[in-house]
């Protein structure tokens, strides 16, 4: 291939095109101006979404990555532009979201001089990136970006940040084309699968009387939903999910026994401490899932499938660690395990489900109270969407309720900030989610606290015309903290009483249609109107002020000490 002269900035954009990253979320500024100048001529090949804040940009990139399965790309300038990415990087790191963030940097000769908008973003982001690198010479750009995209999406995915000094963006060099990266000698994206672990795991499963499968986002990230379904179906095992595993298995699958963890379902939590073999697939035993570790599944033999060797034995000691990509390991296990009927064991789960329904769920989704509940809102959304929508949630009570009650037919339908618990995530993530899945209905379910953290992204919706349904569940409190203060701090409500603006008016100011529902009789109609509306729509639903999310495993308690009230 004949070489041609390109600037560093053009090479960055060529890399994005070559990697299929046609949608970019970003915000310009001094140190990234050459890239934005080049972007001016790439408008036909790349779609740049101008956000209102870099944090909004990176959360949008995350939402995009989660629904599309592709790498999210984010542009930001140096200094404050770059530091505004940090929360999103930390979120993407802990939730294994593939991102490539490009930040501008001051001229190389000014590095270390406290130049205008200079910040040491490489060192700041080191603990919250899978990899980061500073480029000061344009000739490095094609190779480093190829490496960045490869690292972001391969193995256990994660965020990568590439900092490019302004001189490198401007510099012209002989461009020899773009070669994607598929090997780095010091980097092993997935461990080699060994037969002996597969055999040991198969033996344990075949001899198990009461096996329980618990699965996380690894199934989705590994694009192994089909393999996973075959695996659990062959031997009839019940399967419970973590918050990020949600939607990998359809809600109505007969072996889907519900959610794990602090606000998970009754059966899977209690029965974690009664199963004889616990099979963990692509999940990392977060403390919100395990509760008190020294009382977690002590009776069980544990099989742990993970692509990341450092996860095995990190929190829970595995009897058999099955290193590898679950897309490859699950079929090997399926091959070896026997077909079994475990309906008696599934019945035990059904009994717990019934108990939970009677004591907890029924009143949440069909409340007898005058006040509306979050659970009934989600039930009506389910009835209207039939489980086909992408649900994007923020953090707090509405998040737990949505994850507990929303119904899903297909994978990559649940977008939430799991590990980091980033309030303000949902609105920008919903925007990104819609760009990542333009043919699907995207509903952002957000609390009255979280919406106010990134409400400026209504401007992004206004300008792009992206069709996002925003549903604010307003309980006039920072609800989850209030719940804890009620339960554990003797109702000393310390700074959880939060006021809201008139959201419908705010939406109107941004040219977004909206409505507010304060009475149950208007609820169904309002949700139907929102979903039928062409274009974005904001619906505020006033829900009970002091409702609590139950069941709950109180902090420091074992999963079997889960409270229904």
């Amino acid at each position: 291939m004949a070489t041609k002269k390109l600037t560093g900035a053009q090479a960055v954009l060529e890399a994005c095109i070559a990697e299929g990253a046609e949608t970019i979320f970003g915000y310009p500024g001094g140190a990234i101006m050459p890239i934005y100048d080049a972007l001016y001529d790439y408008n036909d090949k790349l779609k740049h979404i101008l956000v209102r804040h870099e944090q909004g940009g990176i959360h949008a990139g995350q939402g995009y990555a989660r629904t599309s399965g592709k790498v999210g790309v984010v542009f930001a300038t140096s200094g404050p532009g770059a530091t505004n990415l940090v929360t999103g990087l930390a979120d993407a790191m802990i939730d294994s979201t593939p991102l490539v963030c490009i930040t501008g940097q001051v001229f190389a000769h000014l590095l270390g001089t406290d130049a205008f908008q200079e910040t040491d973003i490489i060192n700041i982001t080191m603990p919250v990136t899978k990899w980061n690198y500073q480029i000061t010479d344009a000739t490095e750009i094609p190779g480093i970006l190829a490496k960045a995209f490869y690292l972001a999406r391969s193995g256990r995915p994660g965020p990568v940040l590439i900092d490019i000094s302004k001189n490198a963006q401007i510099q012209s060099f002989d461009y020899e084309g773009y070669t994607p990266c598929n090997h780095i000698r010091s980097y092993r994206p997935k461990p080699v699968i060994r037969k002996n672990y597969i055999d040991e795991a198969v033996d344990l499963i075949n001899n198990a009387k009461k096996p329980l499968v618990i699965f996380g986002q690894g199934v989705i990230l590994g694009k192994a939903e089909k393999e996973f379904k075959k695996f659990i179906e062959k031997s009839g095992m019940p399967a419970a999910w973590t918050i990020l595993g949600l939607s990998a298995l359809p809600t109505n699958h007969p072996q889907n026994v519900g959610m794990l963890g602090m606000h998970g379902n009754y059966g899977p939590n209690v029965l974690t401490n009664e199963c004889d073999v616990l099979i963990a697939v692509g999940m990392r035993f977060d403390d919100r899932v395990t509760g008190r570790l020294d009382k977690y599944a002590k009776q069980a033999k544990v099989i742990h499938l993970d692509i990341d060797p450092s996860e095995i034995d990190k929190n829970v000691k595995a009897t058999v660690g099955v290193w590898g990509d679950c897309k490859e390991t699950l079929p090997l296990l399926t091959l070896g395990i026997q077909e079994k009927d475990r309906s008696d064991w599934l019945k035990v789960f059904a009994e717990y489900t019934q108990k939970e329904y009677d004591q907890c769920i029924k009143d949440e989704v069909y409340p007898s109270s005058k006040e509306m509940t979050m659970g009934e809102v989600i039930r009506i959304v389910n009835e209207t969407t039939k489980g086909d929508a992408v649900m994007v949630t923020d953090v707090g009570q509405h998040q737990m309720v949505t994850c507990r009650y929303a119904k899903f037919n297909e994978s990559r339908s649940n977008v939430t900030s799991g590990g980091l618990g980033t309030m303000g995530f949902a609105l920008p993530a919903a925007i990104g989610a819609k760009f990542g899945a333009p043919d699907r209905t995207v509903i952002g379910v957000i609390g009255d606290g979280g919406i106010q953290m990134t409400i400026q992204e209504l401007g992004t919706i206004m300008q792009t015309g992206v069709d996002v349904k925003i549903m604010i569940l307003n309980n006039q409190f920072l609800g989850m903290v209030r719940q804890w203060q009620e339960l554990f701090n003797e109702k000393r409500y310390s700074f959880v009483d939060i006021q809201s603006p008139n959201y419908v008016m705010v939406a109107k100011a941004y040219g977004i249609e909206g409505a507010k529902v304060e009475d149950r009789k208007d609820l169904v109609k309002a949700i139907e109107t929102m979903l039928a509306h062409k274009g974005s729509y904001l619906l505020e639903v006033m829900v009970g002020k002091e409702n609590n999310v139950f069941p709950m495993v109180p902090q420091g308690c074992s999963v079997s000490e889960i409270r229904l009230k």
Binding site: M126, P127, K130, K147, R185, R188, V192, P309, S310, D313
Partner: protein, 200 residues
């Protein structure tokens, strides 16, 4: 009986690419967990272009195992090993500066050198610099011996260590922890063939 939760000295050996910032990435793994690094050394390894870190920590086996896995997870890290003191041969180097006047008057220097295996690496009219290599206890002994005579400066290097059972990085350790999946030798084929594979 050694348990997995008892603290003892571990020497972590890390083979890495030579890359700016990697030292910080590795250091963060320790500081994030509030683990104090007792000693840290970086040097070339037996393979050209590959760096070798030697890190000493006082920790339990459980903690060290997890830390080592986190280190291995870093993109530019090829391999990390951890060993107890009986599994390695190690040395530290120490330098001692004393005033010539003081020491020559009060001590029989040649006896001192013999007794502690020390060498005089600089002899000047005003001061002398001694050097010893050895384990911590040995270098400490000479420090103690010199203290009464006005030890002006003392400095000790980080530990460098050779793993007894290692046949070098050319052939990765075979008796590495059994459940360790990274025993695959695939990427070994690329070692020393830097140009043949994707590089920075």
């Amino acid at each position: 009986m050694e348990t997995n939760t008892e603290k003892q000295e571990y020497t972590i050996t890390v083979y890495t690419e030579n890359q700016v910032g990697l030292l910080n990435r590795i250091a963060i793994i320790f500081s994030r967990r509030k683990i104090n690094v007792e000693s840290l050394n970086t040097s070339p390894s037996e393979i050209a272009g590959i760096h070798r870190f030697t890190i000493v920590v006082m920790e339990s086996r459980d903690v060290v195992l997890k830390v080592v896995r986190q280190i291995e997870k870093q993109v530019e890290v090829l391999k990390a090993y951890f060993n107890t003191n009986d599994e390695i041969v190690w040395q530290e180097l120490a330098l001692y500066k004393v005033l010539s006047e003081e020491i020559t008057e009060k001590v029989k220097v040649e006896r001192l050198l013999r007794e502690y295996g020390a060498r005089a690496v600089a002899i000047r009219k005003d001061f002398i610099v001694f050097e010893t290599t050895g384990h911590r206890e040995e270098t400490n002994k000479l420090m103690k011996a010199l203290e009464p005579f006005g030890l002006v400066e003392f400095v000790r290097s980080a530990r460098v260590a050779i793993i007894k059972e290692s046949s070098g990085f050319h052939e990765k350790l075979k008796d590495f922890e059994q459940r360790e999946p990274s025993e695959d030798v695939i990427e070994n084929e690329y070692l020393g063939k830097r140009e043949a594979v994707f590089t920075m």
